[in-house]
Symmetry: D4
């Protein structure tokens, strides 16, 4: 449906079974509101807006009632999903990876996943990783959020048998190359069968985890 400033995909939910998620950056509050109104009207499932600052969020919520704003995740949520009984662990290497983990966790929760965030278990203190092994193994899948050299993905990949979704972050400086080093390192991890999403994409990791629940019954 063409609403003047955007062509809204009204069929994704029905067609593909995935929720409606609006990418916030570059859109004004009234434009976001317009898209939201159409999506909320024509579909039934959750509707999310990612990467929205607090001012824009307030303005959007003033226009479209019923939404919740997740500060740390910079996420707007309407009609969060009911719990699906699927548990995802989001584990971070360092404090600075927090915002990306927050986005992953908030999106996953809004989509109905049970989410636990396990913080600050960088591999330079390997006992911290080992201390949470059981917690990691109890999850149905693990999202690993790490910048710099991204080594946490390899260690976690060797501890659990479940799906591991690695999110490289732009944390670090110099040779970290704004996340490219972590991305390449996770790609060539010695832990077999881990997968990788885009730099800083907590959102992408959450969606990937959500897809894990979409198996043929």
């Amino acid at each position: 449906m063409d609403i003047g400033y955007a062509r809204v995909d009204l069929d994704r939910e029905r067609r593909q079974g995935l929720p409606e998620i609006v990418y916030g950056p570059g859109k004004q509050a009234h434009e976001i509101a317009g898209i939201l109104e159409v999506l909320l009207d024509r579909n039934d499932g959750p509707v999310l807006v990612t990467r929205v600052g607090p001012e824009t969020a307030a303005e959007v919520r003033a226009r479209v009632p019923g939404g919740r704003y997740e500060d740390a995740a910079r996420l707007l949520v309407w009609r969060p999903a009911l719990p699906l009984g699927y548990r995802v662990a989001v584990v971070t290497a360092g404090t600075a990876d927090g915002p990306v983990a927050a986005e992953a966790a908030a999106v996953a929760t809004a989509l109905g996943l049970e989410t636990a965030v396990i913080r600050d278990v960088g591999v330079a203190g390997i006992h911290r990783v080992l201390a949470v092994t059981d917690e990691l193994r109890e999850a149905d899948s693990v999202i690993v959020v790490a910048g710099m050299e991204g080594a946490l993905a390899s260690v976690v990949g060797g501890l659990v048998e479940t799906p591991v979704i690695a999110v490289p972050t732009s944390v670090g400086y110099g040779a970290a190359l704004e996340g490219v080093t972590a991305l390449l390192a996770m790609m060539t991890s010695c832990a077999a069968g881990i997968t990788v999403v885009n730099i800083d994409s907590g959102f992408g990791a959450a969606l990937a985890a959500y897809r894990l629940t979409r198996r043929r019954p």
Copy 2:
């Protein structure tokens, strides 16, 4: 266990629940055979050797009976797993992506996944992709194997709701940069929630698919 030329990890199967897979390149036939003997003796599950040429494969099989050699996949398999009742579709963009798809399919099959290979559905002939949509949707997850610009991953990611594991291949020349372009493109795909493994790593994709079956019951 240290067998002179390698320290064999005997506990992975028990500890992590993942099968034993030996990376073939750089190892001589008698070394592979030695590792195989230990693994077959101490564990119960499947044992695989990847990226083995036909001569080495023949020599290994002469030393360690009971193995099967998958020619197109360059894979040696002992004690293939029983079917797990999980279906993975391996779809390729072009003929040249065939060997990587073959590795993905053979490894997945050996690990107990039901595997279907769907060939040559490059996006420049988009009707070919659409023609196999139902087949893709019936699978529990999809492995997309594509080189050059790797666009097939985005199209498939928009057609199915199940997990999509993208494998960039080194197919192409010039700006394909030996697979780096496909890798980057798949990473920044407009299809939400698809994940990516290393260039040409059919093996990595199969393991990632196998992990999808390892959910908490």
Copy 3:
């Protein structure tokens, strides 16, 4: 002709048959005005100034009467060309590609091309691309504007037989590498015979389309 702060090429229109287009960035309003006066005086065809902000545009128009300012395209136009009877379709993958498409469309229109913009047909919703196939085929050529992985160029290239000019955009983050990934991906597209211009260069694509009309009669 040297007007103190610039050497104005007065012969391009006559010599090469291409219109006069001034690149705005780094030039002050009075300098742009000075160049415009010379060009309008000595030549007969359209005169354009690209990438001009609204304040500078207002100041230039105050000095040189008769110009029109295209806001979304950040383009100043004097003496737009008469319609040439040539139709170009400008198609974008996502909302964020809009400004680049706007520049392409405005420049093309000012040069006499009939221009239609088709918005938001990203390949993750392939039915949206297919829904506009006829529209794309009716055009004499197609400009494809896409960031991230740039896959739309390949899909469109496989749908039409006419010239396809791909414009990679800097839309995306992380592995998008500010447009370099889309550029490389479009370059190594599996759709034969598509061509590519510089990142974010709506202007370059429009000129390339204009050249298509300059065939020997």
Copy 4:
């Protein structure tokens, strides 16, 4: 149509209006022959096989009668098109760019374009470029084949008003980075409206030129 080792796209000619072109590398002679037989049987237009060495070419021709082999272009042609009355000039910067130009010219000719190759007009001897200006201007479009710094594309782009398709080549060493430097340089050319195809892709340039003839009547 699935012929065992390949899924042959039988509808491209009819659906898209573009000729059938088989990419040779990685295919054995009997496989190429098999694909050719299907394409020649079901379609009417030209059928080409690119990048084929002389031995394979001989073997294919022994299996599928009626084909012609273009040595310098490493191209196999069946049913070349009738002349379309469209003239393309292929101009090279140096002797080493010859093979890429040969591929461009042979493919263009097989598709019905009238093709002239203008050799060795590198910009370090700018008078050589100027000497052929008229010849370039008489063509309906120009394919510029250049390696190293690829500057010829900019100079030609400033001399003609017709479409310019630049082909960067991997000619050069060191800072030439196997064609990447020429590719980037052509992309950021100061000559407005020139377009670029993949490194060494004489084939891609020829197809792009062929698309120029496919305008709506």
Copy 5:
């Protein structure tokens, strides 16, 4: 000599015969003044400070009398050299290359070279380059300042037999990669024997030209 915040090299002039040039960025006005005082006191030749903004320049000149400020070049000069009877031509591809050319020209002039700036002779209008051939040939050496694809260096290198010093600039966007493309292109130029200095380094080019005057008598 250590003056607290810097170790001043007092012997370069005497030891190496090159003038004293202070790099401005990161130094405060009073620090620059302190260094200048020592250099002016202990040496006899020209003393320059590069890349100084107007405010800092004013403050430095208030502290150290006798200096001149070149606005366009952002250069401070004390004791400019007497003319050496050596002529260098500084030629630019486009208006945006102006500041780099200004630095080259101002530094060269301050060191005693006779300097002529030839502006806006980009290769897309090759007649503009040819129109200044005689001027270029009359110089003892030529500094070519060009961004984007940097092709002017190749054309000039083919027109003159004297030394050509190419300065890539960060002019351009997208594939220009902030000057890296021009740098690589100039490095792999088809014009034999041209040399290259760092991106945007008008200063470096001027020093290289000055060295040309330092031949054994």
Copy 6:
């Protein structure tokens, strides 16, 4: 001393206290022999030749008696040093890192370091790393040899307080970028105070370890 085909540095041992090490590649057996003769004659300490194949080694040893050839390390040694009472542990991530570790160990041993190689302790089996923690802590310093994502360096750096010298290797494929990924990852390691040498440079790591013994008494 100039011996015709090389200028031999006879003073390094005396001047700098470091041993004489000849880089083998690109030198013929008789040239290596000539250099060895001078070094053995004029100095007293160990003399090594690195990266020498078995044939060349045999020929050199036939010409210069008294040398030993370390096969796995491809190293020739004359006059190995007496033990210095300094212990270095060389730890590798995988079997394929073996040759680099062998070079590090053999060079270190020849220079008088007590060397222990700990093999195959990749972080995907973190228990294997932990199992050798005591061994690592007993060493005076640790050389970590790892390719792919190079994560072992971070884990070891967090386990020991002594100097850690990381050697990235070219082991891996695709995103491993021939060792560049491991190099960058080790550089941006979250383990504080680890240092890195060149890709595959077992030799460089051994020399760095040797320097650790050269503290002022």
Copy 7:
């Protein structure tokens, strides 16, 4: 210990023998204070906070008494270590490398190393390097801080026999690539056995030097 916004590693000092160092960026004053209180309470050794601006530093010190702020190094220190009797020389190539050297020196001093900073001995004035040779040789190890081409590391590496820790800095422009060129150059230095840390990481170099004191007694 989890203090709400961070998981504080209380065992590193005891477990690994390395001091507690908090990375400042991205943390608010009250968060830093909270972490400091825990660390000061539970451990005995030095506690540092790196890369803290003056305002944050003042606020932290107001909350946690007893700290010292090193302005040039942007470092906060509690309980600096007693002198260890180990001498490290920090040598810089140019004035702009000063802040990185200041961080290295302040961290090293706080950890108990005797530190001397030797300033502005760039290799373009090689006599300046030679003039400090004795000073360099008297140190137990040398930290070389250099941007641009980083050549000082090679020269110093050839002058001393003790450990050399090279820190590439982001000083320079254009081809300096924000420190990547210096990093690569130091990595491939012709001086054997020098080691490298991350770009601008004065902190990393100081820690590496501190590790040098941690040898088995």
Copy 8:
């Protein structure tokens, strides 16, 4: 003049004053001979063919009498120039840089320059560089040939006041990136006014030196 397989530039010598130099790679002996015959017939100055292997060289000389083959430089020379009374020093960092230096020296000599090669003065043994300072200062200009980190260019640039032409070589491994690191390092050298040519281009450096002799009298 078009001789069938090449368009020979007969006017360069007269037009530009530079000698005729044929690039050998990719040309067959009879083709080189054909070009030589035309050049020798129509011009008067030196004619060179670069990068020719010994077999091709022998065959060319058999066809075109009077030529000389420089083995180490892989250069063919006809009619070498009379001495111009201009002295260039070619200095190398290591033995492996020899072939590039040999090309530089042989081309320079053939063009009439007096050439001295100074070998193996890498900066890790800085006294070796200093020992040749006088020799370097006596030359009219210096060509510095260095791979790995290319630091020799900076040191020499600080020792002489005459022109310095730096040639990065592909010597080194790993982080040397086949010469790209040396190229970037030389570009961003702290020695003011040095210039750089392409990787391994001894030929380019010699031509650049030759241009230095072409000043207006």
